[in-house]
């Protein structure tokens, strides 16, 4: 097993872990968004989605445990990379200019990542079954009560902007890290990443606004 730790311990190895776990989170976000869209169907549709999800029983626990594992890998590799990169240039330049390449998404990756981490902890305390008693009230009631508070709406919308920025760089970047950069496909991957970040940003971000002001 030494070969595995040696391989994953290198700079490219850490990036591969970031890419693999990042891809899993994109999958998770897609499923999460599909589920959340039932909110547009009203209280019954959303509650029924939640019931079906909980009916998975132990499988749901396994999925949650798996997500936590992927999450820890993503966060810790990310923090190590961030720290090493910070140390790799002890003296900063007096003049900084972007000669091309760098985007808002790529430049803010560690910061949006840390903000998303904080948001996820906040989000879990708001809605998850580990922190909120879901016995007496339906999940729709919990959600609609939370978003009566404009501070929550603002925080959630801001967090979705962070997710969109993170995905806008993360999506194409993970293909590059896997070595999947080909002139035939890279333009589609780049566009796909931007579309995906918009879908996540708007898809999730509009929900709190819809619940607070429209529903």
């Amino acid at each position: 097993m030494k070969w595995l730790t040696t391989t994953l311990g290198t700079s490219i190895g850490k990036k591969l872990m970031m890419a693999a776990t990042g891809l899993s989170f994109i999958g998770f976000l897609a499923v999460h968004l599909a589920g959340n869209l039932t909110l547009y169907g009203g209280a019954d549709a959303f509650n029924s989605y939640a019931e079906h999800l909980h009916a998975l029983g132990p499988l749901l626990g396994v999925a949650e445990f798996g997500l936590l594992g992927l999450f820890l890998i993503h966060v810790f590799s990310g923090l190590i990379i961030f720290w090493q990169n910070f140390k790799a240039r002890p003296t900063r330049y007096a003049v900084n200019r972007n000669p091309g390449g760098k985007t808002i998404g790529s430049a803010t990756m560690p910061y949006t990542g840390l903000l998303i981490l904080m948001f996820i902890l906040f989000h879990l305390t708001n809605f998850s079954r580990f922190f909120v008693d879901q016995g007496g009230t339906t999940i729709f009631q919990i959600v609609s009560t939370a978003f009566q508070n404009p501070v929550y709406v603002g925080l959630y919308v801001l967090a979705m902007v962070m997710i969109a920025l993170h995905v806008s760089h993360g999506f194409w970047s993970l293909f590059q890290t896997f070595g999947l950069n080909h002139p035939k496909y890279m333009p589609a991957i780049n566009t796909g990443g931007l579309i995906l970040s918009l879908v996540f940003g708007l898809g999730f971000g509009f929900l709190p606004i819809y619940i607070a002001f429209i529903a």
Partner: protein, 258 residues
């Protein structure tokens, strides 16, 4: 036409001065009068140095050699961009016509933990040589040359290998990278050999040991910003970084090199 006309501009240099590796260093402001726009950036520095020498001051130390854009020795960060504002151009090939009268031009050395400043604008780029020593070669037995057509190489592969081999090892990619990563350099050196039949037997060992050497020398991790390819005087593409990643994945997971 303006090309034959004599043009002179007045500029102000804000140049990094550092006595040695242990010195803290500081910026020195040097006004430079009547710079002919036909002079190259390094010739302008030569003229400044001549004046400084006449005044009994220490001239500005900077690296340079061929002054033809092919050796990879020169390079400073000019106004925040390695090799200055002109694309696909080494610093020696940058001319003062790219600047305007009254410009304040900041000149800094490559900055990375792996590159120690030797003096002023000169940095120690031997870590790049150490990466090459760790595997950037092919072990070829000497003997009589074989027939040129004995090993077929398709034209497009030869072109890709040649594009990667255009790297002059100047270190601009490291200087430009927000993480001071040497991935573009390593990827070019791995690609030029991995693409060709002669480089394949040692491809796995090469990918592993060059990446390890890069990490051990305290270069940063690549995070796909693409700034490296934007400043590379030889326009090395990050498609080479993807190839290095593939070579590394193959070596790490499907070979016995680790």
């Amino acid at each position: 036409m303006t090309t034959t006309e004599e043009h002179t501009i007045n500029i102000t240099l804000k140049v990094w001065r550092q006595k040695g590796p242990r010195d803290k260093g500081r910026f020195e402001t040097i006004p430079v009068q009547n710079v002919e726009t036909h002079t190259s950036f390094l010739e302008m520095l030569d003229l400044v140095n001549e004046k400084l020498t006449h005044e009994g001051k220490e001239p500005i130390a900077f690296d340079n050699d061929c002054r033809e854009g092919i050796c990879g020795t020169c390079g400073c960060v000019v106004d925040g961009v390695p090799h200055g504002p002109q694309k696909a151009m080494t610093l020696c090939q940058l001319h003062m016509r790219k600047f305007s009268n009254g410009d304040v031009i900041a000149v800094e050395p490559w900055r990375a933990r792996a590159f120690k400043v030797i003096k002023d604008l000169m940095v120690d780029r031997s870590p790049l040589d150490k990466i090459i020593q760790s595997g950037g070669y092919v072990s070829v037995n000497t003997g009589s040359p074989q027939d040129a057509n004995a090993i077929p190489v398709p034209m497009d592969v030869a072109e890709k290998a040649m594009d990667a081999a255009a790297c002059i090892g100047c270190g601009a990619c490291v200087a430009a990278c927000p993480n001071a990563s040497a991935m573009l350099f390593v990827s070019a050196k791995v690609s030029q050999l991995a693409l060709l039949p002669q480089g394949k037997p040692e491809a796995a060992e090469r990918a592993i040991s060059m990446v390890k050497a890069m990490d051990d020398l305290l270069f940063g991790n690549c995070s796909n910003h693409r700034v490296c390819e934007a400043v590379c005087p030889k326009e090395i593409s990050i498609i080479n970084i993807a190839r290095l990643n593939r070579e590394f994945i193959k070596a790490g997971f499907a070979s016995e090199a680790v």
